[in-house]
């Protein structure tokens, strides 16, 4: 198997089928909607109180994640991540531009999230725009500090040229837990990004010329050691779960989104949803988020390094797997 894959643990047991005529629509804002009856909600909530979820996982287990990098050839770096049925494709393109006025010796990242109509019919036309802007704003917030990505390495010549990394996220399929998956995909794509090495040559008159190196494999890589991962904790009843499916998200009124680096440092915190949270449960959720985040980082790093060690001759699965 050439893709990196790891499972969160727990045996997946077949879910009992439910009568389709007992359904009621429930909207969760701009996310994909799912129909759940009262009985199903009670089943999910009671199960979570006993640390047993519908597919047999514990409250802190992730579903099986598949990560594959370098799937799109026209980009500087790309990654595709599948978490259950949630499918995200990220492409990173590096382009040269002028640095921002306030930070003349740094490059920067620009995020764009597109919710494709393939994910759910509600995203057709402008429907997915709100969700896309919300996710893009969260990504900006997470990467908004000095330690996530070394922006000084993206500078070519101060005040004149720098690398701008356009990170484009495509939502192909939505099955709950979008933020976590997107952040894993962005981290994998940044790990895969290869920026060509350029040199600035000065003429006698003082005019500058940019020279691209001849060797196509001569490139700089970004260090993704400090890129954080998002852990979304959904409050269901009195407990919280990590990596909620769409059905579990429909039973939860409020979630806490925590962005954790591999050393356990929290870079962003946000409450999502219509409900309110108890202060004590916020503290518990932060601790869980940190614990789960560390494990997630360790697994992701090992998988990415293993995939890279397979070399350029590895068999690519892409969308055929």
């Amino acid at each position: 198997m050439t893709q990196g894959a790891w499972c969160g643990g727990g045996v997946v047991r077949a879910r009992a089928t439910r009568a389709d005529d007992v359904r009621r629509a429930k909207r969760l804002g701009s996310m994909a909607s799912v129909s759940l009856s009262e009985a199903e909600k009670v089943y999910i909530v009671h199960g979570v109180q006993e640390d047993l979820r519908v597919d047999g996982r514990g409250c802190e287990d992730y579903r099986c994640v598949e990560v594959e990098t370098d799937v799109v050839s026209n980009t500087s770096g790309s990654a595709r991540v599948k978490l259950g049925h949630t499918d995200i494709l990220v492409g990173v393109k590096a382009e040269m531009g002028t640095p921002k006025l306030e930070k003349p010796d740094e490059g920067y990242l620009e995020f764009f999230v597109d919710c494709s109509a393939n994910a759910t019919p509600e995203f057709e036309g402008r429907g997915g725009d709100d969700l896309g802007t919300e996710i893009a704003n969260t990504l900006y917030r997470i990467f908004n500090n000095k330690s996530s990505v070394d922006l000084k390495s993206l500078c070519i010549s101060p005040r004149e040229h720098c690398w701008i990394l356009y990170v484009d996220v495509l939502l192909l399929e939505c099955d709950g837990n979008l933020f976590d998956t997107i952040c894993i995909a962005v981290k994998a794509a940044l790990f895969n990004t290869r920026i060509p090495r350029v040199r600035v040559l000065e003429d006698e008159e003082g005019s500058k010329d940019i020279e691209l190196s001849d060797d196509p494999y001569d490139c700089i890589r970004l260090s993704v050691e400090n890129v954080p991962c998002i852990v979304t904790l959904c409050k269901i009843g009195y407990r919280h779960v990590v990596d909620a499916t769409l059905q579990e998200e429909a039973c939860s009124l409020a979630s806490l989104l925590v962005s954790v680096t591999s050393t356990g440092v929290v870079t962003c915190m946000r409450k999502v949803g219509k409900g309110s949270l108890d202060p004590e449960s916020i503290f518990e959720m932060m601790e869980t988020g940190k614990r789960v985040g560390k494990v997630l980082h360790a697994s992701l790093q090992s998988v990415l390094h293993k995939e890279e060690s397979l070399g350029p001759k590895r068999q690519k699965v892409g969308f055929l797997g």
Partner: protein
């Protein structure tokens, strides 16, 4: 005589002169980390809005107006059993539409009105913090519009907007479970990082991390939380949240008095 624009070409982009000023790094003065700036709050000042509120804390001035409930666009017909307390079923619940705007002269640099991503993000944060407090089930197929206008940004703008929005909703007579009180915090950078309550704009600019908490004081439930930056380990964030919640509790009596005064004013103004 008007300038000759054909021969004298000016620059296409304009920047404020402060960018080119010599680096006068005024570090913010040391102060008690738990001090809250004195707050002036007044409700019921706009004649055209159903409910309105003005909040001033230090240099931050926010004006908020609420209109509605009016019929929601695209309100679908739906059935289903009613929720507890005579509330509408989930498909028919009312909606809260929040809008956050910065005046172009609010910050240090002029920002043209369609502020882009940041204003959308703050509007979403406003909505997520106010929804737990408003009984939307009592306004089926209706929408309430809350619009917050930041006149001057003197630090903790989102927290002030949250508080003003909750006051405006209460002034409009919208059914609520509790008021929402917002509080801002910021963390000083590396040597000796401490969390400061209710930062000024200078402290926010020099900060390594910022956090805004929104609390429903009587129910003691956190309605909103938004924070980012290099805040350090989870214990540091937990301490910040506790400090913020305590600040919100201290602010609550001021807002209660403001609403009482507004109600008295309205009672005195009504023709008997």
């Amino acid at each position: 005589m008007p300038g000759d624009h054909r021969r004298i070409r000016g620059p296409e982009e304009s920047q404020p002169p402060q960018l080119y000023a010599a680096d006068e790094d005024e570090a913010p003065a040391a102060r008690d980390p738990t001090r809250l700036r004195p707050v002036y709050a007044r409700a019921g000042l706009l004649s055209q809005a159903k409910g309105s509120a003005y909040l001033e804390a230090g240099g931050t001035k926010v004006l908020c107006a609420v209109s509605g409930p009016r019929q929601a666009e695209g309100s679908e017909r739906g059935g289903g059993p009613a929720g507890a307390g005579g509330e509408a079923p989930a498909a028919l619940r009312g909606r809260l539409l929040c809008d956050f705007r910065r005046a172009p002269f609010a910050g240090r640099r002029r920002r043209a009105p369609p502020g882009g991503g940041e204003e959308r993000e703050l509007a979403l944060a406003l909505q997520e913090a106010l929804e737990p407090a408003v009984r939307l089930g009592r306004y089926p197929r209706a929408q309430l519009e809350v619009s917050a206008l930041l006149l001057e940004d003197g630090g903790s703008a989102l927290a002030a907007a949250l508080t003003a929005a909750a006051l405006a909703l209460a002034d409009a007579g919208v059914e609520m479970y509790d008021l929402v009180v917002g509080c801002g915090l910021s963390r000083t950078p590396e040597p000796a990082p401490t969390w400061l309550l209710d930062p000024t704009r200078l402290e926010e600019e020099h900060a390594a991390a910022g956090l805004t908490v929104a609390l429903m004081p009587v129910l003691n439930q956190v309605a909103g939380l938004l924070g980012s930056g290099e805040g350090g380990p989870t214990e540091s964030w937990a301490e910040a949240v506790r400090l913020g919640l305590e600040g919100c509790q201290r602010l609550y009596p001021v807002l209660q008095q403001c609403l009482v005064r507004a109600a008295r004013r309205r009672g005195a103004a009504a023709p008997s």
